[in-house]
C-alpha cells in the first residue's frame, strides 16, 4: 500500500487538462455559479444569519483560486492521486460506504446534542460572532472533543490498526517538505490575514494559542482524517478520476456540514437558498479535495481553506473569558 507519485503521464500539463475537461467538475461549477447568482439576487432574509454582505466570502473564493493555481505550478512533476498512482485499497467500495455511513451517524448524533461540524462558518461577515455568542466554554470544548473523537481518533484508529493502512497510504506523510512547508506557511497565513479585525491584534496571546488548539482538535485534524486522508482518495480510486473523486468529496463535505446555522428547509424559498449555500460549503470541500488529491498530502488543505478560523480568536477570548 504505497503511494506512487510517478507514472508515464505528463505531470506538468496533464492534471490541468484532466481538471478542466472533467464533466462532473464542469457540472458542479455550473451549479455553483448558478448558486452564486441566486445568493446575490434572492431575498436572503428567509434564512437565519444569511442576510449579510457576502463580499468578503467571494473575495475568499478568489484567494482560493490563486492558491490552487500556485499549487498546480508547484505540483508539476508529480502525479495526482487516483486509481493508477494512489494507494491501493483492500475493499474501497465497502470502506467508502462505511465512512459515509459513519459521517451520517456523526452528523445525526451530533445534532441531538447541538454539536455540529463547524462551530461557526466564517464566510459570513457577522454570522460567526453571533454564533459564538450562543456558545460557552463548555460547549466549545464539547464541540472540539466530539469532532476530534468521532472524525479523527475513531476513523484513524480503525483504518490504521483494524484495517492495517499505513500513514503513507492515508496521505498523512508530508512529501516534498522543502516545497510544501513554505507553501503551507505562506498560503495559510494569507488565508486569514485579510480578515483580521482591530480586536484580533488586541487579543491576548493565550486566546490565539487556545484558538489554534481548539480548531486543530475540533476542525483541522477531524476534516483532514475523515474527508481528506480516508474519503477523498477512495472516491478518486472508485470513480477512476482524481477530479471526479474531488467533486464527490465536495458533496460529502457539504453534507457533513449540513447543520450550519444559516441552513433551513421549512419552505421553498428556504430550500432554494439553503441549496445555494450548500453549494458554497461544498465548493470549499472541492478546494480541499483538489488540494489533497493533486499533492498526495492530506494536511495541505488546512492552508488552502482552513486557517481562516484563526480570525475567530477574539470570539474565543470572549467565550473563555481570556482578557
Amino acid at each position: 500500500m504505497s503511494t506512487v507519485l510517478t507514472s508515464h503521464r505528463d505531470h506538468s500539463t496533464g492534471p490541468v487538462r484532466e481538471l478542466l475537461g472533467n464533466r462532473p467538475l464542469q457540472a458542479f461549477l455550473a451549479v455553483w455559479a448558478a448558486a452564486v447568482a441566486y445568493i446575490a439576487l434572492a431575498d436572503r432574509s428567509v434564512l437565519p444569519l444569511s442576510d449579510q454582505e457576502p463580499a468578503a466570502y467571494f473575495t475568499g473564493v478568489l484567494g482560493a483560486a490563486v492558491s490552487l493555481a500556485l499549487l498546480f505550478r508547484l505540483a508539476r512533476g508529480t502525479a495526482p492521486v487516483d486509481a493508477r498512482t494512489g494507494p491501493s485499497f483492500r475493499e474501497p467500495g465497502r470502506e467508502t460506504a462505511l465512512l459515509l455511513g459513519w459521517m451520517a451517524l456523526v452528523v445525526g448524533v451530533g445534532s441531538l446534542f447541538d454539536l455540529r461540524t463547524h462551530i461557526a462558518f466564517v464566510g459570513l461577515s457577522e454570522g460567526p460572532q453571533q454564533m459564538w455568542d450562543a456558545e460557552t466554554a463548555g460547549s466549545a470544548l464539547a464541540w472540539a472533543a466530539y469532532n476530534f473523537l468521532a472524525l479523527a481518533a475513531a476513523p484513524y484508529l480503525w483504518f490504521r490498526y483494524r484495517l492495517g493502512y499505513s500513514p503513507a497510504s492515508m496521505l498523512l506523510r508530508f512529501p516534498r517538505p522543502r516545497v510544501w512547508v513554505p507553501y503551507f506557511l505562506v498560503i495559510g497565513t494569507l488565508g486569514f490575514v485579510f480578515a483580521i479585525t482591530p480586536e484580533f491584534t488586541s487579543t491576548p496571546l493565550s486566546a490565539h494559542a487556545l484558538t489554534l488548539v481548539l480548531f486543530t482538535l475540533g476542525s483541522f485534524v477531524p476534516i483532514a482524517i475523515t474527508t481528506q486522508a480516508l474519503l477523498a482518495p477512495r472516491l478518486a480510486h472508485l470513480s477512476g478520476s482524481w477530479v471526479t473523486g474531488a467533486v464527490l468529496s465536495a458533496v460529502a463535505y457539504g453534507a457533513l456540514n449540513i447543520t450550519e446555522a444559516f441552513l433551513a428547509w421549512g419552505s421553498t424559498p428556504q430550500v432554494l437558498l439553503s441549496l445555494a449555500w450548500f453549494m458554497q460549503v461544498a465548493f470549499w470541500g472541492l478546494v480541499k479535495a483538489i488540494t489533497t488529491l493533486r499533492t498526495g498530502n492530506a494536511w495541505l488543505h488546512i492552508a488552502t481553506t482552513h486557517t481562516i478560523h484563526l480570525v475567530e480568536a477574539p470570539a474565543v477570548a470572549s467565550t473563555f473569558d481570556l482578557r
Binding site: 444569519l49 467500495g93 454564533m131
Partner: protein, 42 residues
Amino acid sequence: MTHLLAHAGHAGHGPAWPGVVALLLLACLVLAVDLRRSGRRR
C-alpha cells in the same frame, strides 16, 4: 438578529436530516457501483 438566532435553534444550527440522507444516498451509490463492478469481474 436575536429572532434569527431563535429561529435557528438555541445553539444556532440547522436540521441534520438533509445531510444524513445525502451521505447515506452517496454510500448506497458507492456500494451499488462497487457491486456492479465486482459482478463484472466475476
